[in-house]
């Protein structure tokens, strides 16, 4: 058996960074940039009023001074007349200031009678002017190293960036295997169950930025497996579930090897989900998950999500966080146990409580869980109140 960390390092070795593509800014949410953009302009492009009010020369900014309003400057329509001492300009937020070296006095701080403006007796020190280039200057690079947020897109729009170079979305082909499986909506025979792994793996992959091809279920025979593998042509990552353990019915590894898989097979020191198969198959990475739905989901969280991150140039480490244990737990055996658990907000760290039953057949408990409590292999019993690690679900 190898550790989860070793297995993660091995599956990540199978991953090659995807090619890049150019997309419109509007399509950027959640994508990962492959090259920096440069601001195409300076923001603000001009010194601009930060408030609605009146612009006047600094020399006129005296308590109680009286000025004449000569015109106005609005966002998009500056005032371009000449101004003499004692003259002011009505100005709105975002409008360019008429000249350097002025001050904007807030509209609520002045009194106005016709064109005559009177400043207050107590003046603010605040000029209420945004200097040119305060946010960014032309040429400033921007290269966030995370999945793009709405705010990233807003900043790049303001930089006048209309297109982005991003990593292509990984194409994931998903194959469930097993004579016992039928699709939802069908009527299962007496020994059959509904295929659920495909739906979990498709949604996890899509949430991680992938395009998913859900392939037909492969029966436990070589001809069926060959047919379904042929449908995965062109995928970046082929994910199977089932047929990856050591039982006699596990044909997936054999057929994949016949089709060119440089096969690696590991028993991983983890619960649930001991067996994992992986390799490269043509231009694709291949990940063979256990057939048990809880094991497949936990393995997808621990191995598939990092592979999808690495394909897109993102950090692939597990998102390990800390919480306070909400119930005593016994010692672990020779495998790290990823216990389905529930989080509750605490005064400081959240409290994490594993479900009473950790049977890997219970999808209901998996769906209810918020987190995988990590109980390292060989660890002793842990008491309520101790700090423990978890991975959010």
């Amino acid at each position: 058996m190898i550790s989860v960390e070793e297995a993660l390092a091995k599956v990540l070795e199978l991953v090659q960074l995807l090619r890049t593509e150019t997309i419109p800014l509007r399509k950027g949410l959640g994508r990962v940039m492959a090259a920096p953009v440069a601001a195409a302009l300076t923001q603000p492009p001009f010194a601009a009023s930060a408030m609605d009010g009146y612009w006047l020369a600094a020399a006129d900014h005296r308590p109680g001074a009286t000025l004449r309003v000569e015109g106005e400057a609005a966002a998009g329509r500056g005032f371009d007349g000449a101004l003499a001492p004692g003259q002011a300009v009505r100005i709105f937020t975002g409008a360019p200031v008429p000249a350097e070296g002025g001050v904007v006095v807030l509209q609520e701080d002045v009194s106005r009678d016709g064109d005559i403006l009177t400043l207050p007796e107590r003046l603010s020190d605040n000029r209420n002017i945004r200097p040119r280039g305060q946010d960014f200057a032309e040429g400033t690079p921007y290269f966030p190293r995370h999945r793009l947020t709405a705010r990233d897109l807003g900043l790049m729009a303001a930089m006048n960036v209309a297109e982005l170079t991003v990593y292509r979305r990984p194409v994931v082909a998903i194959i469930a295997t097993g004579d016992e499986l039928v699709m939802p909506g069908e009527t299962p025979g007496p020994d059959q169950i509904i295929c659920s792994n495909n739906f979990v793996l498709a949604a996890l992959s899509e949430a991680a930025g992938a395009e998913v091809r859900m392939l037909p279920i492969a029966a436990d025979n070589e001809a069926s497996l060959r047919m379904v593998f042929s449908l995965a042509e062109g995928a970046d990552l082929i994910v199977t579930s089932g047929g990856a353990s050591v039982g006699e019915h596990d044909l997936v590894g054999k057929v994949a090897a016949d089709l060119g898989l440089e096969r690696a097979f590991w028993k991983i020191a983890m619960r649930p989900g001991k067996p994992l198969m992986a390799g490269r198959m043509g231009n694709a990475a291949m990940l063979g998950l256990p057939g048990n739905p809880v094991s497949a989901t936990v393995c997808a969280k621990l191995f598939l999500e990092p592979m999808l991150a690495a394909l897109q140039g993102l950090p692939a480490a597990h998102d390990v966080r800390q919480a306070i244990l909400g119930a005593d737990t016994g010692p672990t055996g020779p495998r790290t146990h990823y216990m389905r658990a529930r989080l509750a907000p605490g005064a400081g760290l959240p409290t994490i409580t594993p479900f009473g039953s950790q049977d890997s057949a219970l999808l209901g408990i998996l769906a209810e869980a918020d987190a995988l409590l990590i109980r390292p292999l060989g660890d002793g019993a842990r008491r309520t109140g101790e700090t423990v690690d978890y991975i959010p679900l």
Copy 2:
């Protein structure tokens, strides 16, 4: 001025829960269920082996006993012969057990010579059999009240649920207003800036489950505003930015009122983003955000996201969490200040540190921020190390 909480309550009063629609399970990720589903079967549908090994009658489960292997049971292909005492069945994980009242002994715990199986001297107490209906019984309802996760979809697949009744995705029409705005990719004139609000609001809305219609920029004249509002026909929510303050150039409210908006306009006791306009316009709710991009984004977080949640039947409260203050901050004035801040993991709660500049013109700082530190109106100075509230970005 009204408080943020009052304003939130008021905008939520404008929202009507959307109609429902039926979608295939495969499209369920992130959607919100409007009605429960019921499990169409019992899971496991039969008592099944939890491990690869050998099934035998409980009466034969004696230390060192010798049995004859009479056949095998695999997932999808049960053993349906008759068994006499002293006979065993090779069985694989997920396979139905041949009869009630048996035990599965793990393959690694026995020795086998031809068809002759010898049990170990020390027997486990574990039957390694999953009882029928351990996960869920036929008719069990499932009705999660959150955006559906991959695990929800897996559970419902296993329940043989092929279709879901969900709330329709809200259709959001986004309108930026202002003579000074041009779209990214254009060449701005000397007093113009690039429209960025549309891109932030579109991405925030999509991340919250909406379908977005990004409409043309409206110029600051009535004809242009009327034209663009007409393009919003059929939307559930119309979101404008710009033209919602009290300057003379704020025509949005006037035109919207001419088009039937029962207009509400509030100054909200918050920084940034004081002015907010809202109302109902035909069948749509309307939200008028400030034009300043930082203010628009913060207001979208505080008001637009809750409205989108409420449209889909989700809780609309702000996601307020706690952190340890990483820097001293001064007292607040008469408005609650949502300070752009950065989070760092701590030993317990994360540490939150507001950026030095809180100028609402700085999109670069907004993009870098992880969180809005909430500094309640009228609060005194807060010291490093105190526990404070924030909203994650």
